[in-house]
């Protein structure tokens, strides 16, 4: 057996001997699946009836990746899916950098983008719109590039694939026609109430946010940013449009004169749902709505990997297990800790950073772990075992 593989398996063994894994509720009703370092494919359709049995399996077999089913079955060990007798499934959301981050980002930056999206998903959608309780949600750092959110609540176990897809479509607004929102508001001559549920309230609240943002950019003379924002939104006649927003208008309330204000201040500060009409003719209002629509699509639309949520037989990483491509732990995070959670600190197995080892770097790489920057160039070098482990699993290092 090559040295690298031996080393990886030894580290995984040390970990599983010393650490507990977090068993999912109804763990005996779940299917388990594993992938290994030294063979192809996945071993699945396994079942366990006690915690010790799972730990024993992990220690003996040292899998690279450990999974359990979001579904629970009467007979999780049945070889054919149809024979398992599906009883229900947790509702799973998967946020993965692969699906949402494009461009040149470091691992750390990627994780922080995904974390921001996860927060939006949790607070704006799961808690606020869908009304889940905090205790219904379990959040996990995947050990790789993202977060998993598991929802457990009596109302969701029985949802089928289509029903789960409807939830995802709501969150990602996929195939949703925002123009119908614009039309409706134009027709009524007023914007939606900010407290209205669903995308109506979101759209309306965004009007205020965008107005405040433009005002700030304008007042701080950041014209270049304004230009780029408007251009991205596909606004033509940008100069004319900006001028319009900063025209001063007489403000009336219930027919009587109140004061003079810039249109941008009216849009940003006033509560009047008809304030949109200060923009003048329909063309201007449509242009403004177009800008809002653009912001809604970048700021408010939620991200989550659809096939994961809609698959009611999905296998998902076992909390507490190690991720076979990083050596990091699949780590539970409570909602209260989520803000301060730092994956490259809190999901790192600290025992792997006590000893150092000599390793052969095959490809330059760098990573920031446990608040330290590690940077290696091709050639022999000494590094903490945890870094060697990460490097081997990513293919940068050999022993």
């Amino acid at each position: 057996m090559p040295n690298s593989l031996q080393f990886v398996q030894r580290k995984f063994q040390e970990y599983y001997v010393k650490n507990k894994i977090q068993l999912p509720p109804r763990f005996a009703q779940r299917e388990y699946g594993f992938m290994f370092f030294d063979r192809e494919g996945m071993v699945r359709h396994l079942g366990f009836s006690s915690e010790n049995e799972i730990i024993d399996f992990l220690i003996k077999n040292l899998p690279a990746h450990a999974y359990y089913s979001s579904a629970y079955y009467r007979d999780p060990k049945a070889q054919r899916m149809d024979d398992k007798d599906w009883m229900g499934a947790d509702l799973i959301f998967d946020l993965d950098a692969d699906h949402m981050v494009s461009g040149n980002f470091t691992y750390e930056e990627m994780l922080s983008i995904v974390k921001k999206e996860a927060k939006k998903l949790i607070y704006e959608f799961l808690l606020e719109d869908f009304g889940f309780n905090k205790k219904d949600l379990s959040i996990f750092f995947s050990g790789g590039r993202g977060y998993h959110i598991h929802v457990r609540n009596n109302k969701i176990y029985q949802l089928d694939s289509d029903e789960r897809r409807e939830i995802v479509s709501y969150i990602t607004a996929s195939n949703m026609n925002f123009d119908s929102f614009i039309k409706e508001q134009l027709m009524k001559g007023k914007i939606f109430n900010e407290n209205e549920g669903g995308w109506y309230g979101k759209f309306s609240r965004e009007i205020r946010h965008v107005a405040i943002l433009l005002r700030e950019l304008h007042d701080s003379e950041n014209y270049r940013e304004i230009e780029s924002v408007l251009k991205d939104a596909g606004i033509k006649n940008r100069k004319r449009f900006m001028d319009l927003l900063f025209i001063t208008k007489k403000v009336f309330r219930e027919g009587s004169y109140v004061s003079e204000k810039r249109i941008i201040d009216i849009l940003a500060d006033m509560d009047d749902p008809k304030r949109i009409n200060y923009l003048g003719d329909e063309e201007n209002i449509v242009t403004f709505f177009q800008l809002i629509k653009h912001f809604v699509s970048i700021d408010l639309v939620g991200e989550t990997d659809e096939p994961v949520t809609t698959d009611v037989h999905r296998l998902i990483r076992l909390p507490g297990s190690l991720h076979g491509k990083t050596g990091f732990r699949v780590t539970p995070v409570t909602l209260d800790e989520f803000d301060s959670f730092e994956p490259l600190k809190d999901a790192v197995v600290k025992e792997f950073f006590i000893n150092e080892i000599k390793a052969n770097v095959k490809k330059d790489f760098s990573i920031r772990v446990l608040d330290q920057d590690f940077r290696f160039k091709v050639g022999e070098d000494i590094m903490p075992e945890g870094i060697a482990l990460f490097g081997i699993l990513r293919g940068f290092v050999e022993l």
Binding site: G33, M35, M42, R44, H65, Y67, D94, D96, D98, E128, D129, F130, G131, F132, S142, G144, R145, G146, K155, I156, L159, S161, D162, E163, R165, E166, I167, S169, Y170, A173, S174, N175, M176, S180, E196, G197, G198, W199, Y200, G201, D305, V308, D311, H313, R314, L315, I316, R317, H323, K325
Partner: protein, 363 residues
């Protein structure tokens, strides 16, 4: 509103069944005391087989009993298409009755028995979001969740038309539950077979004359084998008497029209859907195929079909569907049909460059 009245308006309510406890099935299917109920049941079945009109009994009791007789008859016939049609009939019966009541408590009670949690405040209705999404599959795009006022786990309807919308959600739940309630009858009561023999024989005759007539469809020159799996699946579901979604119907009609089906042939297929209405379907088919109206709708592409939840690529594991260039059902049809004529090159196209199916796990 007393329970007796409710039992006639909403005969599915379990909470009113106590009123009828102890009734003998023998009496039900033979005594003159219940002939109104039997007439009602018989006429509902026959109407849905295309014969005669429904004869409503004057009393709530007879309506209740007739409804449950219908369920037993349907269980006995075990015919998905007919059950689906009768489900639509009673769904509409439910809708008419539900819209007519004003009593909030009754509304809540009826909803609860349909497993739809509702809160009512003034003219505002709040439906539990998960009950809501379980009942919109067959409703139009307006009912998609992202167009609703969703807050704190409830979809909120207020203002004009709310009552109607809420009723639509409930009737969909009723429809599903009605079919379940027929399918869950395990043993057919002997009393019915014994005392209701003649009527059952007449019903069967009418059924064989009507429904079997339009259960088969011939495709002629058109190569059904070359249909992509998603289209085959929709047809299969329709043939099984399933009430498929609007998007499924739309996809099927545009596809069939494009490959050369006549409007009439398309209609033939739709005769199997439970809520088949000749005039309505004809209008819709003509509308979609551009015979009526200005727009000619095109066949949705693969990504749209996927969004509709109609893509069955994974279920059938079809290698052609996994090709990177497979973006449209018509491409599939054309390719498959052509490659059948010249089997040579197809082999090299299949398999070797097949995108590897990702396995069931992820980061």
């Amino acid at each position: 509103m007393d329970d007796r009245t409710l039992s006639g308006m909403f005969p599915f309510l379990k909470s009113v069944s106590y009123l009828y406890r102890g009734l003998s099935l023998k009496d039900l299917f033979s005594s003159t005391a219940y002939s109104d109920a039997r007439t009602f049941a018989y006429s509902v079945i026959m109407k849905n087989l295309g014969e005669g009109d429904v004869i409503y009994p004057p009393s709530y009791e007879m309506k209740y009993l007739g409804y449950h007789m219908v369920r037993m008859i349907l269980a006995y016939l075990n015919d998905k298409i007919l059950t689906g049609r009768v489900a639509i009939f009673f769904r509409d019966y439910f809708e008419t009755n539900f819209i007519s009541i004003d009593d909030r408590e009754v509304m809540k009670r009826v909803s609860a028995e349909l497993d739809v949690e509702i809160m009512i405040q003034g003219n505002e209705f709040s439906i539990n979001v998960f009950d809501y999404i379980s009942n919109i599959e067959r409703l139009g795009d307006d009912y998609r969740l992202f167009y609703q006022r969703l807050k704190n786990g409830y979809v909120i309807f207020s203002g004009k038309g709310s009552r109607e919308k809420v009723t639509k959600i409930l009737r969909e739940s009723f429809y599903r539950k009605f079919i379940e309630s027929v399918e869950s009858i395990e043993s057919i009561p002997e009393e019915m077979i014994l005392y209701y023999r003649e009527e059952l024989a007449r019903i069967k005759e009418a059924r064989d004359e009507n429904i079997s007539k339009y259960s088969t469809v011939e495709y002629g020159d058109i190569d059904e084998d070359s249909f992509p799996p998603c289209i085959k699946e929709i047809i299969k579901r329709i043939m099984n008497g399933e009430n498929v979604s609007h998007n499924a119907r739309f996809t099927l009609v545009t596809f069939l029209k494009q490959i050369g089906f006549s409007g009439e042939r398309i209609l033939e297929i739709f005769r199997n859907v439970p809520d088949f209405d000749m005039r309505m379907t004809e209008y819709q088919v003509k509308h979609i195929t551009g015979e009526k109206g200005k727009t000619v709708y095109s066949v949705p592409k693969c990504s749209t079909i996927e969004l509709y939840g109609l893509c069955v690529r994974d279920k059938y594991n079809d290698s052609l569907c996994r090709k990177e260039w497979m973006t449209h059902p018509l491409i599939y049809y054309r390719f498959k049909k052509r490659s059948k004529g010249s089997p040579g090159p197809q082999d090299s196209l299949d398999g070797s460059d097949m995108a590897k199916k990702s396995n069931n796990n992820h980061e």
